[in-house]
């Protein structure tokens, strides 16, 4: 077996060195009744070629978004990932390292985490950022918990425009905290969040652009929050937007919780992704998760360590944190380094340009209305009837034509006819023509 380091001769010699008659002797603490008598009903070991064949056959049963005009977004975005990104993250020194518990021999990981934190803080317009979370949804939940700790109040108001998975995870995390969450209903109408704030409100959570693609000036809301002693949490599902759209930090956000996948990371059927979290310097001691910090070594040379987290250096009791999303943060960091100021802003512009072209093309289709006044690279259209069957019919044709709002918010009548469509830089004019033609046919 190719992954095992021992030969049968090694095993015999090693058993002898241990003074064990056989391997069973080493398992003698296992209760007899729990020892498996027979081998498990599983296939036997297989060579690379066989495994590759079997899994490639499963992969071939799927419609790859790379082979189809793809207009799906809603929390996962298909962007071109430069070849250099995948090369760097496959270097064994990054790929096969553990969490940097021994900083002297993990400076590579620690330095890129520090660079990543800086990139995240910059694009969000915030002062500091953490070294990644599991994904955007868990980052939102953690942000809501963080706001409760800071404000020492219990309730968090969540806008109806926040991605349903971000809402859902936050709801689950809050489930046993007493009644702490006010979830506003999803709708394409206006919502008055400021009116929901009272003396027990720790924070208001909004998403920008929201799940329907709409942009909003958050400054007035931030003001209302701050006047009432509450925090403003801004969720961002598409961080590429921050290259073109005013960042939450400039509109008064106190915490930004975001999905990092669109930068450097592929779609991967929904995971692994990475959560981003950025905040103000004064909240640093409440920022959850791992954080890399700068320091010096015994010779006075600059270096980095995990910090504010002596709590987890040695996986200490009660204070331990967990594996998060280090390698995805590296992919983000490398992609962002390649983009730089010019590339990041050009990429964002290009996304918006593609979405504008798509919106103009779809608005011209009879029976289709574009619901958004504002958007970045994603917006919502209304069809004359239920959107889900149309999306299915288009998929049959090999077009991934948008996410039905009914999949995001099942049972909300007003949204049943809506389709959330997205155009990134990967969408071509031919793709747009294909979607337009399909909608003409199916609507």
């Amino acid at each position: 077996m190719r992954y095992l380091g021992l030969t049968d001769a090694d095993r015999r010699a090693m058993l002898a060195a241990c003074g064990a008659a056989d391997i069973d002797a080493l398992y003698r603490d296992v209760p007899k009744s729990a020892v498996l008598a027979d081998p498990l009903d599983l296939p036997l070991h297989a060579g690379e070629m066989e495994v590759e064949r079997a899994l490639a056959a499963l992969a071939a049963c799927n419609l790859s978004a790379a082979d189809a005009p793809c207009f799906l977004g809603a929390g996962a975005y298909r962007h071109h990932v430069p070849a250099a990104v995948d090369y760097i993250i496959q270097r064994g020194e990054f790929l096969t390292a553990y969490t940097p518990y021994q900083p002297e021999i993990a400076q590579g990981t620690l330095q890129y985490l520090f660079e990543f934190q800086t990139q995240v803080a910059l694009i969000c317009g915030m002062e500091i950022a953490s070294a990644s979370h599991y994904d955007g949804a868990t980052a939102c939940a953690e942000a809501a918990l963080m706001a409760r700790r800071i404000a020492k109040r219990s309730r968090v108001v969540v806008s109806g425009g926040v991605h349903p998975h971000y809402r859902g995870v936050t709801e689950t995390y809050f489930r046993w905290l007493g009644d702490g969450l006010d979830l506003l209903p999803p709708s394409l109408g206006d919502e008055d969040l400021a009116a929901c704030i009272d003396g027990d409100t720790a924070a208001v959570m909004v998403q920008n652009p929201d799940v329907f693609g709409r942009l909003r000036d958050l400054a007035p809301l931030a003001e209302a929050c701050h006047e009432a002693g509450a925090l403003l949490i801004v969720a961002v599902a598409e961080p590429v937007s921050l290259g073109l759209v005013r960042p939450p930090g400039e509109m008064g956000a106190d915490i930004v919780a975001a999905e990092g996948q669109p930068v450097g990371n592929g779609l991967n059927f929904g995971g692994p992704y990475l959560g981003l979290m950025a905040t103000r310097q004064r909240f640093v001691r409440q920022l959850p998760g791992r954080i890399a910090g700068q320091t010096i070594d015994a010779d006075g040379r600059r270096g980095w360590v995990l910090t504010l987290s002596a709590r987890e250096q040695h996986i200490r009791r009660e204070k331990a944190a967990s594996t998060n999303s280090g390698l995805c943060a590296l992919a983000f960091c490398v992609h962002m380094a390649l983009l730089g100021e010019e590339g990041f802003r050009a990429l964002a512009r290009l996304n918006h340009a593609r979405a504008v072209a798509l919106a103009d093309a779809l608005a011209a289709v009879d029976g289709v209305t574009v619901e958004n006044d504002t958007f970045f690279n994603e917006f919502t259209i209304r069809l004359p009837g239920p959107a889900a069957p149309v999306a299915d019919a288009m998929a049959e044709r090999g077009i991934l034509g948008g996410v039905p709002a009914s999949r995001l918010f099942p049972g909300v009548e007003d949204l049943a006819d809506c389709l959330v469509v997205c155009a990134t830089e990967t969408v071509s004019d031919d793709d747009i023509a294909a979607l337009t033609a399909a909608l003409k046919e199916f609507v």
Binding site: P100, E104, Y134, V169, T307
Partner: protein
């Protein structure tokens, strides 16, 4: 210039590397994008007004930067990584290749189910392997890592108790447990009570029984334990836990010792998370991503988080809403459907090993640990007598009177080209050193490890204190000042003017 010093501060292959932000060359860019052309924006006046502040670099500079950084990292690819309780085994490259097949890597999570039947079948197949290996009937696939799995399991237990109309307020956790265990229980609103270990390093059964009552929601055990031992009274523990009406949670971080030989379901476990990034070889990636599926008993299965994967008339289907069959689900713990990319890798690993190879891997992991134990027990102080499972626990008694601490010993290993073991965990012994070699190491590699560890132990006892307290000397950095890092946190780069202003404040 003194011997060994250089003009640049570089040392041959160890090259000093500035931060990306210190390399800025405005106008350089590592990507070429088509022009956006003219269009009328739909931003509603919300365009960005200020530069972002990102540095400009060409592609070769970016590659070189990260290549140099990579050379400052230790990794399994470079050598033994005996970090106890972390299972740093070889990460097969086939897994990486397969996870990158466009039919997996380029699937959007919101594609219609008809277009992703292969991906759903992959999840289903992996779930089947996990059910067979654990002897447990159900699995929640979405948790993102071990601690997230613990959260999932504890919530499922809480939901099941709520459904029984019972208010229980305590979770019992052995004192040797990983810190995430009590942290998680606390997150679900439980009071955490430690259960002491006995002189054999196992949970004290009498104390456990004494503490179990109708206020206890769950007993959260790690088996094999973080002392590297199999809980030999686990059947009695299970009986006592169930007799009190509580659930038996198992932290499966150490499943690598028993996979293919013992099924947790046969031990009376109700709920257990697995770490695909430990037992099933998905890479740790310098701190994730991981994947922490949670195995559930029949009684707990109805409370599993969304989404559920079910077999329907038209193939596999995702239940994404808490209604109908999933009405009692605890809700969602993560976006979309879990760490799919990790599922591909874990399944590729399992298929490569097969049922026979998984069992052999467990046996080799246990044999290798016992071989290291036998090779070191006369020069280091073993905390509890063997045989051990896949890892063994030493403490710092052998360093008594030397002025050398566990940390110093670990740092001296670094200079020898070894990654240190887990140190200061578990907390049940003083100056813990938890060594897990894994089944990936050859006998040659284990022999080198034993030889170096023996020599270091002899050297320590010989009184060469400074050798240890001054280590490491040869790593890219010497010991780093963690106290200052925490007291005056510098968590991001700032332009020089801004840094100067801040310092003046």
């Amino acid at each position: 210039m003194a011997e060994g010093e250089t003009i640049t501060g570089n040392r041959a292959l160890q090259i000093e590397e500035p931060l990306l932000f210190e390399m800025d060359a405005p106008g350089q860019c590592g990507v070429d994008l088509p022009d956006s052309g003219p269009f009328e924006d739909r931003l509603g006046g919300l365009e960005r007004r200020n530069p972002v502040g990102l540095p400009g670099l060409s592609e070769p500079r970016v590659i070189r930067h990260f290549t140099r950084l990579s050379q400052k990292n230790y990794a399994i690819d470079a050598g033994i990584f005996p970090l106890g309780s972390c299972t740093m085994k070889h990460n097969p490259r086939l897994n990486e290749r397969l996870a990158r097949l466009p039919g997996f890597a380029q699937l959007h999570p919101m594609q219609p189910e008809s277009t992703v039947q292969g991906a759903l079948a992959l999840i289903d197949t992996l779930a089947d392997w996990l059910r067979t290996l654990t002897g447990m009937p159900a699995v929640a696939m979405s948790p993102a890592a071990g601690a997230h799995g613990e959260l999932c399991g504890t919530m499922v237990i809480r939901a099941a108790l709520d459904a029984r109309g019972e208010k229980r307020s305590t979770v019992l956790v052995p004192d040797s447990a990983h810190g995430t265990n009590p942290a998680t229980a606390a997150m679900c609103g439980y009071a955490v009570e430690p259960i002491p270990s006995n002189a054999r390093g196992r949970v004290d059964l009498a104390l456990l029984k004494e503490r179990l009552d109708d206020d206890v929601a769950a007993f959260m055990l790690t088996n094999p334990s973080t002392c590297g031992l199999f809980e030999d009274e686990i059947l009695e523990q299970a009986e006592a836990v169930h007799a009190a009406g509580a659930y038996f949670y198992c932290d499966g971080a150490n499943f690598n010792a028993i996979a293919g030989r013992v099924r947790p379901g046969d031990l009376g476990i109700d709920c257990m998370h697995l770490n695909l990034h430990k037992t099933f070889s998905t890479p740790h990636g310098g701190g994730g991503p991981g994947s922490g599926p949670v195995m559930l008993s029949e009684a707990l299965a109805p409370f599993a988080p969304l989404p559920w994967l079910v077999h329907g008339a038209e193939g596999l289907r995702l239940v994404e809403r808490a209604e109908g069959e999933a009405a009692r689900a605890i809700g969602r713990l993560k976006s979309f459907h879990g760490q799919f990319g990790m599922f591909v890798r874990a399944l590729a690993y399992m298929m490569s090993h097969g049922g026979d190879g998984i069992r052999q891997a467990s046996e080799d992991a246990v044999l290798s640990a016992n071989y290291v134990l036998a090779g070191l027990e006369d020069v280091m102080s073993l905390s509890y007598p063997g045989p051990c499972m896949h890892e063994m626990l030493f403490d710092d008694r052998f360093l008594k009177g030397t002025g050398i601490a566990t940390l110093d010993f670990a740092k001296a290993m670094i200079d020898e080209g070894l990654h240190p073991m887990t140190v200061y965990f578990p907390l049940v012994v003083h100056g813990a050193m938890l060594i897990e070699p894994t089944e990936s190491e050859s006998r040659q590699s284990l022999d080198v490890f034993i030889r170096v560890m023996r020599a270091l132990a002899e050297r320590a006892k010989g009184g060469d204190t400074a050798w240890f307290t001054g280590a490491p000397r040869l790593a890219p950095r010497r010991r780093l000042d963690e106290t200052t890092a925490a007291r005056q946190p510098v968590l991001r780069w700032l332009p020089e003017e801004a840094s100067a202003e801040k310092a003046a404040e």
